[in-house]
Symmetry: D2
Subunit: 286 residues, 4 copies
């Protein structure tokens, strides 16, 4: 059931003839076995995107050497690129407030190794989940947020995230608006779950807005956080059917199921390096 | 496979104790056999909604007598109500422009009797579908719309609709904005299919808007037409998954499938008297 | 956000004229306020099914008196019926083996009060989840099952269930086949989640079967347990899309999300007395 | 809105190092611009699958020359391969009986050019749709099937198909079982829509079977026809929710919507050379 160790190469560059040939030629020349590959050309933007998985054992060198040897190819095509090793677990820092559904869901997936990650710590503006988190053997940090202490509090969170060598920060229904500085510094590394089918019902109380409009489906949206509230690149969305008999409290209830499912899928795509960002949109090589 | 003849009673009134007892008592007293029943209480609004189907043969009188005898019950509870006979086919007038997917879909359902309706005529601002419609034995009326002739043209459409004794007008991707007067006069009787998951992407070119925002699902919305564009009570909605590789032309393509499916479902609910309107929302007793 | 206290009356009886009138007349006569009602006539079987919610405060007597006073009505129509009080939390005993996804999901819903139930104990044939369950303050019973001790083990489980005054037993991916005696004794009170879209892929390793057949959707089924393995009345089902790139291990992964969602929905319908069983089928008044 | 002309190369071969490099190297060497690419490795089977779209204008030669020049590459890797030109419309022969929903749907898509195909003829064992088909300017052939004339009738259908230079034969609810010879001769070129979510409810009257089992979702399956009834490789499937109130006649009704949607999607994948068959399964590069 265990998959073999893989390197994942992701890149984007201005589109032109010969990119695939150059990349796959490089890999083949060193005996690399490509186990999965996806390309996408954005013809309007003239931009090319690629993701390839290579069996680690098929290459005669390590990632450091790969990076050195591949650099000239990347330079020739002006690539933005990276290569990661799936043997190194990503470090996911979870931020949470008082709702547990996403937290339970993520810790359950971590516990069962369905999400093969490290969770170096959980950070919250409430003490609510300390003992639950600590029972899992995961450090819990209480960082209260008040109108007065925001700068200091966000500074503390950034320290904790960097001290934990976090790769990605997950806002698991974290009910605070991050500072612009923080959004900027970790661009493409903070994932939020919004409780509506964006762009419908931006802002506060989306389920209440949905109830008032009388929609027949409600949804959730997993997106990267940017300084523009609820406007970041969308990674994943889904919906569930509701009807006239559902009160706002019912919408909240159904919504939780969609929120945790959509967050889990979006996070997984990110962790497996399946998401490339271009402008305010994502390419998701599922 | 044929269902027996039924009367369908729909009503709404201020909620209070004893409504169901009074209605079902009245029906039982006359030997009426209730084959399907749905109630809904809107507790915030204090309003009660009901739909009951009664086997026509179980009652000793016709609809006219039913209406007379039931009137005192209705008055006692200040009901807004009606009763219809499913043996009388509803008369559906279709308005169409240049896209055929909804028209083909509706005529196919009519042809196969899946939609057991009369289509007294099709009205269009283009000649495109004349021969296709006429081949089905259905009259086709060409009513061009220009910026100058709008009042006259809508007057002509209203004449045609009333001359055809239309029960409901279906905008099957009819790319014109109806006059406020027309919306007002046929309130609750004009059904539109909008090519987005409202309230997202109101107005023109919703698929293009969806493409620019990078959403992962697109949808369609069937709603009653009101004077506020795209703001009327929603009857039915659905969505379909798209991804980064889909261009606006692909979204249009997938969207058509959702549009015709959602329009067909919404229209069916309306034709079977399953939709009650309250303010800007619908109760749909599916 | 809290809903008022309600009594829920569910019944079925041979269909005839006057049932709704008799029931709603009885309720109205005592000032009972019906907040939700659903009926269903199975015309082939000639059987009628009803569920009504009545606001507890609108009635001048308690449930015991209701039962006495309603008995003659029930008798007149040969009803099978019961009435429950949503102020009394149902007692749910969970059986689990070594997979945690359903257990985490159910305990998370219990913790957040999204499922407003008592969990008097968790029973398992493995020690795996003892400390996790006990951390929640819920007793954990280890009842190993071997080919030799089955009769004794199931006897012990029945004792634990009855000692806990369990209302319903949930098999949350409990990988043992219950004894016929146990299925018989708790008919309609044991809920299982099967990891396929029944009736496809009955029996062992359904994800592997699905992989070999090359289906494009996989599913899960929540059903009442009967002595016929995987054949009991279906309460709820759902599916998720897969494709050629998904290995059995991926199907297991996606399947878990569907399993926990379907189990949670099916259990909720049962707990809210929305499920009536007729032969091998269910009426679910969602 | 029109896409540029493309060649589509599809191939499969035993998996080994260097396939992508060889193929993309060949294309790049001749200046070919790859606009879309998908690969898949079946690790169990040790088989590799690829689909690439190349902009026709970027290559300095035509398809015939491509085939000659590429042959040595194909031979080196023991490829099964083909290359097609999307400027040449595929020829789709439709077989139909007495149900119109799939026929209306396909002709509507053809009429609007959503399906950019030729329909050289429609063949039926009933005269029902002659005038509808002929109104579209499409030849209609009536080939009655009786227990006695089967061999002759299927011979006639094969003559018509070959006379029409058909690429693919679509069974649009054609209620006859094709001869083994015919299945064999056009393997991978006959597409059927089965009215159940296979492998559930194989054989006759699947909606009735679904009703009796009390499933909560019904579905449809688009698959290649093989000599084993309902056992061929699955191209596409989908489902729709039903409930206890739905009679078999309702299941048929909902089912039709799913049937036509699933058939249209499956056919499109086939026409765009997105489907590769391996054993009894498909790789669908959507």
């Amino acid at each position: 059931m265990t998959l073999s160790r893989r390197y994942t190469l992701t890149l984007s560059c201005p589109d032109q003839v010969g990119i695939v040939a150059a990349v796959s030629g490089f890999i083949a020349e060193h005996g690399g076995w490509i186990s999965e590959a996806r390309h996408h050309s954005d013809e309007d933007a003239g931009q090319f995107f690629m993701r390839e998985e290579v069996l680690a054992d098929s290459l005669p060198f390590d990632l450091e050497t790969f990076r050195q040897k591949f650099a000239p190819v990347a330079e020739r095509f002006s690539m933005t690129w990276k290569i990661t090793d799936n043997a190194r677990k990503k470090r996911v820092v979870i931020l949470v407030s008082k709702q547990e559904h996403c937290l339970y869901d993520l810790l359950g997936r971590w516990q069962s190794k369905d999400l093969d990650i490290e969770i170096p710590c959980v950070i919250s503006n409430h003490e609510t989940f300390r003992s639950f988190v600590e029972w899992h053997g995961i450090p819990f940090h209480y960082v209260p947020i008040t109108p007065e202490n925001k700068a200091a509090a966000y500074g503390q969170i950034m320290s904790l995230f960097e001290g934990a060598e976090g790769d990605v920060m997950v806002l698991a229904r974290y009910m605070q608006i991050l500072s612009g500085e923080m959004c900027e510094r970790y661009l493409g590394r903070i994932i939020n779950i919004h409780h509506s089918f964006l762009p419908s019902f931006v802002g506060a109380k989306p389920y209440h807005q949905a109830f008032l409009r009388g929609v027949k489906l409600i949804g959730a949206t997993c997106h990267y956080v940017t300084a523009d509230l609820d406007q970041g690149p969308i990674i994943e969305q889904d919906v569930v059917r509701v009807d006239h008999s559902d009160q706002p409290v019912d919408l909240v209830h159904y919504g939780k199921d969609i929120e945790k499912a959509v967050l889990a899928r979006g996070l997984r795509y990110h962790l497996e390096d399946r998401v490339l960002v271009h402008g305010n949109k994502t390419i998701v090589f599922r």
